[in-house]
């Protein structure tokens, strides 16, 4: 549904996106991660024909966005961080206005979508009277009006309270499940991405530093937590016996290749060092992301 090939974007002398190649297949919920200024919004802008790439090819729904923008975006819906509306008009009028930029939309279709997002009864109220959550729902409604196959969500949970974030997460899952949409989700909320996305790409300083399955990240060998009253003595002994390569934060140990937690426990008990607990800790997306970004920043500074 989305294919970026060696896309490069410069704003003056600053490189915002560097030779980005990315592919989002049909039916996937794809997460785009990166800190502020990493190039996520610029990449999304290029997918929507709002930002012109300096070079490279951007294809959406099989059409080149630069030369066939109208065809490429025919079946695309988008939601942005802090969705903006004409506050002085009603929700329904906003939907009518925005839908007419895509294709003629019947009142029945608008009614269906309003109903789907749960705004029935409030659609005639002025948008300025809407809560943050209602605005988010209106944003979903406007994105759904052209009966999209692809939904691009740029920080959709930004500014929402925990309840709103949970509601947004459920809605995204529902959009994928009930309507079979392909979804590109750019977000800072790593927990949400972890729960929703099947695959992610991480951008750092305009470069893609990772692209892969979320399941693979979780399954990757994590760190081992060790709880003992004598952590320093325990790690010294384990290092001396060649079981671990090092320790992290006074809580974790890094096992050498081929070594097991059973060997750790045996070595410590034999040496009369009490063991209160030892277990593999599954790597979270947050751990993975932070490690990746930290490594990227260190490499750049070097």
């Amino acid at each position: 549904m989305i294919a970026l090939r060696e896309v490069h974007k410069k704003f003056g002398a600053r490189v915002a996106v560097h030779e980005l190649t990315l592919s989002v297949p049909r039916g996937e919920i794809f997460g785009l991660l990166g800190h502020n200024g990493a190039g996520k919004s610029t990449a999304i802008g290029m997918m929507l024909g709002q930002v012109w790439p300096t070079r490279g090819e951007v294809k959406v729904c099989g059409h080149d966005v630069t030369s066939q923008r109208a065809r490429a975006l025919q079946k695309v819906g988008a939601i942005f961080e802090a969705p903006a509306f004409y506050d002085y008009l009603s929700g329904r009028r906003n939907l009518e206005i925005l839908s007419h930029y895509s294709a003629p939309t019947s009142p029945e279709r608008i009614r269906q979508v309003v109903d789907w997002v749960g705004l029935t009864g409030r659609e005639q109220s002025k948008v300025r009277t809407y809560s943050h959550g209602m605005r988010a729902r209106l944003a979903i409604a406007q994105a759904l009006l052209p009966q999209p196959e692809l939904l691009i969500l740029d920080e959709p949970g930004s500014g929402l309270d925990p309840e709103g974030i949970a509601e947004m997460r459920q809605t995204i899952a529902r959009l994928h499940r009930e309507l079979g949409l392909t979804i590109l989700l750019s977000s800072h909320l790593l927990g949400e991405v972890e729960q929703l996305c099947t695959r992610i790409a991480v951008l750092n300083q305009g470069r893609k530093v990772f692209e892969g399955q979320v399941a693979d990240i979780k399954a990757a060998r994590g760190r081992v937590a060790l709880r003992t009253p004598d952590f320093a003595g325990a790690t010294a002994l384990l290092r001396e016996r060649g079981i671990i390569s090092g320790s992290i934060d006074g809580k974790y140990i890094a096992l050498n290749e081929g070594r097991t937690t059973a060997e750790v426990a045996k070595a410590l008990v034999t040496a009369d060092i009490p063991v209160q607990g030892i277990w593999h800790e599954e790597q979270t997306l947050e751990d993975f992301y932070l490690t990746l970004v930290k490594a990227g920043n260190t490499a750049n500074h070097d």
């Binding site: 929507l48 065809r71 903006a84």
Partner: protein, 281 residues
Amino acid sequence: MFLAQLTNELWKLFGKKRTYIGFGAFVLAQSAMLILFKYTNWQKHFEAMLANNGYVATEYISALTVALIMVWPQVLLLMPLYVALVGGDLVAKEAEDGTLRMILSRPISRARLLTVKWLGGIIFAAVLVLALGVIALLTARVLFPWGGMFVFGKLQTSSAFSLFEPGQGLALYAFSHLFMVMNAITMLSVAFMFSCFNMKPAAATILALSYLFMNMVMQHIPFFESYQNWFITYHFESWFLVFENPTPWPQIFQSEITLVAISATAFMIGAMGFQVRDIKS
């Protein structure tokens, strides 16, 4: 589809309060002028001037005469201000508010979006000018009788005054507003052009007004007397030429064609700037 988009543009335009600032200002300014005309020495001086020229003052101190006198300064200053305010908002305000990004996530082309917005602005400009004329005439009629029209002031081809019967005066008054609409469209187009670039709405309005005032000042500098045709404000005076006798049609058409060309050029420059622009949050 195009009509639906234009209708929606008008909903957006006429749905917000600041669009009506111009209409409100016209009513206030005209009310203040009317009170001054009616209750100060202005009327006595005017009667004396007419009498000195052998005319019966009561026939020509009429709603039509007063309406035209009220319209003059407003066309010169207030009307450009309010159309520039709306023209400067058309694109830049949407970019500032974030709604432009919402629109441009849809398959509408930038050229079509701008065309719809520009046409919406043109309709606003026409409505504003026509409202100015109608409000001026109606409010003047409240305090002054119906009668002939007396027109005076420095005209481009003569400095004499003109007198018209009520019917002819009303027809010319209505006709002059068509040319005023063109003035408003030109000012709106200039503000619209600036609005298409990456700037705040207020900056677009200020730049458009600066262009107007620069023209106004330069037009009145004696050194530029032989370059009058180059100044937008010179062509803005063409609406008043319809009151000259005989009507200088070639000069009026030359000015109108120049204004159409300036408007089209401003639109094209704005469209080109907008086309290459990156729209970011």
